[in-house]
Subunit: 600 residues, 2 copies
């Protein structure tokens, strides 16, 4: 079985992205990153690679096969996760990109994200505990009172306690406007919460003595809808006089997820006995806005999960295709000759190259967004920060949904390459396919990403973010031409950029004219077209950089050839979809708009 | 949960296809079907519907959750399958379409297939035992000696014993040229077999006292490759002097499949102790040809599995979307108003309509091929039989692979519509998604279907099959125009037909010129383009018939509107892909052709 040799993510690929494409060490000229250098980046990456390969990945299969158990109201996770979690904490994974002030290492997000990709590829569930903790601690860091930071955030960043995001409710699902958990002000400055949540990842477990929930709830009497939602810090055990006291938070059910099976997903109730205390984070009724700042991070993390899960499966199917003999070339079928490895069959190479195009296109995209987040947070000029932020916001729904959707296809191809073996749980590709499916659902479904992109993000700031993107496309096209990339590729990308630009103006016009439904009807197709443009841009950039580096580093010849093949594949096979989808969006095709439920 | 109300397959839909689109009762003028009428068809369909809904479906979840066990060399299947299997046999499912001579009912395959769709949708695994038995008994019926028929076939058609197809070997996989199981002639006219097989569905179980394997093996000294393969009848227990004697057939392993979990898939060995007797079926060295006659049937059955699995999930997600309240329309987001069922959201309707287009497009296709098989076997004129056979052969790879590939997407959409609930095993869509994945793998992977279609089928008989298909497309276009279907739809389909015709001539020319590799490079893209044309043709035909019937049956108004919406969707969204894919196939795009393993 290929498993033992699986690198999870290619080191050469990550180095190429960080150092050749993004030139991450140049961030070290910025004050925030001044203590860093390529050496400290490499040191951290080495730690993550080792942890991922030696500690996390060897537990993956067993963790997948023995999901958590709920007993007497408490959740027990897989035994192996105890050691794994401790080692993740010890390596500083929870706070690697956070400021030294809160105990972090101030690493660029681009570097921390690259490192995380290995850990995610090795064992999504195990890594999930640290990621959720980092996200919820970050909310407290940004918006919590000093008391809350002292009491909870510090222990979370230290990995002693873990955290969750508790948004979803059974009756509301994705419709956060319908959050019904109630918070009643109590003497002493806290609130008493009561309500139910569902799908709370990491909501309870035995890895740490406390779990801190960041909960969306409605202060009694608050306005209906999203404008009446506040954010609360609600620990499982509250700190009271230096001791931990049970805080009336209950596990009411354990969901049997089909993937991510090491990380418990729970139904929970708050305040069944009227003694669940929560502390307001930020101002009343502004909870959704605060949560959404984290949600952007969370969405990019979902893109990372998806890239990582597609990557480990791509590596596995590549190893399998190199080793598994079967059949003979079309041109010489002499049955007395030995069989050839299946990588020799063009259709198997098609599937592998498609996986590579998806994995590395997605990887390039998520690292690009992480790098934009670094610039948005720490670049020197305010204008540069502003522009990075605009572009980051625009790319977020794509970084979330492209890897999730295309990644699922890629994971299915890994199963397909393994044939009948791939259809058995003796091999891992089926497990990664299950893991992957969640990414199109959680933190906003793909449908919601489409509505968000077209309804909010491309029309923000008078269209400036899209203009910034198209300017990037143009400068990449110029760079590619200069590097000697086939000029037809750059032309194709520019044409696709123009199609998206024109289409956006057209659809925006429909919205401004008052027909929001017509504008939004093809938001899913728009998201797909937009995503292909964005990933096509990533691929053209990779092709350009590959030619640039090959010129003076002959050892990268094979690597560069692979990049050029994958870029060619994506630009020839996927990019032409942009025009077709743009025509569809424009055509007003109204089949599903007008279909009535009783016709289905 | 919607489960209890799920109809599995829509009755109205099946009636429309059988009676309005195909006019199956007109087959009753043919001698072979003369004892039948719409009444006997309906009677059989009613039986199948009842069995599917009342007996098979209620066991599905439990069967999925408790797969077979291998103990002391014998396989025990789920307890519930014993009763289910008995009832399937009692209803005559094994031999419904077989001749009265062998105890069958001589039903048209179109009708038997429609009935089977319900049974497959209800419980693929349970139905699998009968389907495998029918297929292997049919091989004996067509090519076995009278002794074999008497000894084995009769008991199989009667459902007393079951059958398997034992092709695949661990070292050979899809490469049947490398089958290495050996058959040595023995005194007494039989052969002694020795070798290993893998992925043998239903290879052992406790539902019947005997299992009859139809085994591909190589007679000692036979030529290498596919020209040296023979077919053998190898029972688990052989009939000897009126008794059953163990025949040295062993179960060596049970594969943990991720779906179809009620039907055991086994690794088996034949002749470990030198006493495994097999009887030749047909002539020596012609086994592959014989098997492939069944393989065509088997491939259409795979298409049916896929349609059925997509159908039951479509029905489930439709019921869920009608019941689950969440969010509000884009145009009126007032949070004080109640939430609406998610079917009200355009993007949910998009997913539902896409499922419908796939499910009913596939259903129309598989019933069309079954009807062609009826004509190929029993039409009065030889010329009509010949033409039906040519078209049937051409459509077989499409009927196998389109439902498998598009069906997987459709099943994933059913999960997506269920959101977080869809990601849990408390709901059924995830199980159907697992079931579906096998269909792109077994009985020839999708890649192999592409090679088969382009390399053999479209170039057979000087291209006559393709000309027949294009003539059907033209006559459907004329019918659609006459019925009042938007003429642009017919134009689009005709244009796609012309693109496929031209492309085929172009690619065939490359092959004739000696460059087989260039011809076959985009066989996967060719298969996709070809499939979209074929399913587009099915949709245009459905649209035409829907308008025809609506004219005089007002009760079908809603149904016809739904048909028109789905046809519009498919023809507007999918059909334009044909041109793009044809351009790609023609372009010679060579990324994966030239990529080398070390570049990946």
């Amino acid at each position: 079985m290929a498993e033992a040799k699986n690198p999870l993510v290619s080191d050469r690929e990550v180095d190429f992205q960080l150092y050749d494409v993004l030139d991450v060490p140049s961030l070290c000229r910025l004050p925030y990153f001044r203590d860093h250098s390529r050496e400290t980046f490499d040191l951290y990456l080495r730690t993550a690679r080792r942890l991922a390969r030696e500690i996390l990945f060897p537990t993956y299969r067993s963790v997948d096969q023995s999901p958590p158990e709920l007993k007497d109201g408490a959740v027990k996770v897989h035994q192996a996760l105890h050691d794994v979690y401790r080692q993740l904490v010890a390596a500083g994974v929870v706070s690697a990109s956070k400021s030294a002030e809160v105990g972090g290492q101030q690493l660029p997000l681009a570097v921390a994200t690259a490192a995380n990709l290995y850990l995610m590829a090795a064992n999504l569930s195990a890594f999930g505990f640290t990621l959720l903790t980092a996200g919820s601690a970050h909310l407290l860091e940004n918006f919590g009172s000093d008391d809350l930071k002292r009491a909870y955030m510090e222990r979370m960043y230290a990995g002693e306690w873990t955290g969750t995001m508790a948004l979803t409710e059974p009756q509301a699902g994705s419709s956060l406007a319908d959050v019904a958990t109630i918070a009643r002000p109590a003497p002493g400055g806290h609130f008493l919460l009561s309500g139910s949540k569902i799908f709370i990842s990491g909501g309870d477990h035995d890895l740490a003595e406390n779990v801190v929930h960041l909960v969306l709830a409605r202060i009694e009497g608050a306005p209906a809808g999203t404008r009446g939602i506040s954010l609360f810090c609600v620990p499982k055990r509250r700190v009271e006089g230096g001791r931990l006291v049970e805080n009336d938070v209950r596990v009411t059910g354990l969901i049997h997820k089909i993937g991510w099976r090491g990380l418990p997903s729970l139904a929970m109730s708050f305040g069944e006995e009227g003694d669940c205390r929560g502390w307001l984070v930020g101002k009343p009724n502004q909870g959704l806005g605060l949560m959404f700042q984290m949600m952007n991070e969370a969405r990019i993390s979902v893109g990372c999960h998806a890239v990582a899960t597609a990557s480990v499966a791509y590596q596995e199917s590549l190893l399998y295709a190199l080793e598994r003999p079967q059949g003979r070339p079309l041109a010489s079928r002499d049955p007395t000759r030995p069989q050839v490895p299946i990588v020799e069959h063009a259709d198997v190479r098609r599937m592998l190259l498609r996986q590579k195009a998806i994995v590395e296109g997605g990887l390039s995209l998520v690292l690009c967004t992480a790098h934009l987040a670094d610039l948005a947070g720490h670049a020197e000029g305010e204008e540069e920060r502003r522009k990075a932020k605009l572009l980051l916001d625009l790319l977020t729904p794509v970084a979330k949904s492209f890897p999730a959707e295309a990644g699922f296809e890629s994971n299915a191809l890994a199963v397909q390459i393994h044939g009948g073996y791939g259809y058995s749980s003796e091999y891992l590709p089926e497990a990664w396919m299950r893991d992957q499916k969640l990414n199109s659902i959680h933190e906003g479904t793909t449908g919601i990403q489409g509505l968000d992109l077209l309804g909010r993000r491309v029309v923000a700031e008078g269209g400036e973010p899209l203009r910034l993107l198209l300017a990037e496309v143009e400068s990449t096209a110029a760079r590619a031409r200069k590097a000697g990339v086939d000029p037809a590729w750059a032309d194709r990308l520019l044409a696709a950029g123009k199609q998206i630009g024109d289409l956006t103006i057209h659809l925006g016009g429909l919205g401004l004219g008052g027909d929001v439904e017509a504008m939004m009807r093809h938001s899913a197709d728009y998201l797909r077209a937009f995503s292909i443009l964005v990933v096509g841009w990533q691929w053209l950039r990779q092709a350009a950089v590959a030619l640039e580096v090959r010129a003076h580093r002959p050892e990268l010849k094979d690597f560069a050839e692979g990049k050029l093949c994958a870029a060619q594949y994506f630009l020839a096979t996927e990019l032409p979809q942009v025009e077709l989808l743009a025509e569809l969006c424009r055509s007003g095709e109204d089949s599903y708009a007008r279909v009535r439920p009783e016709w289905l």
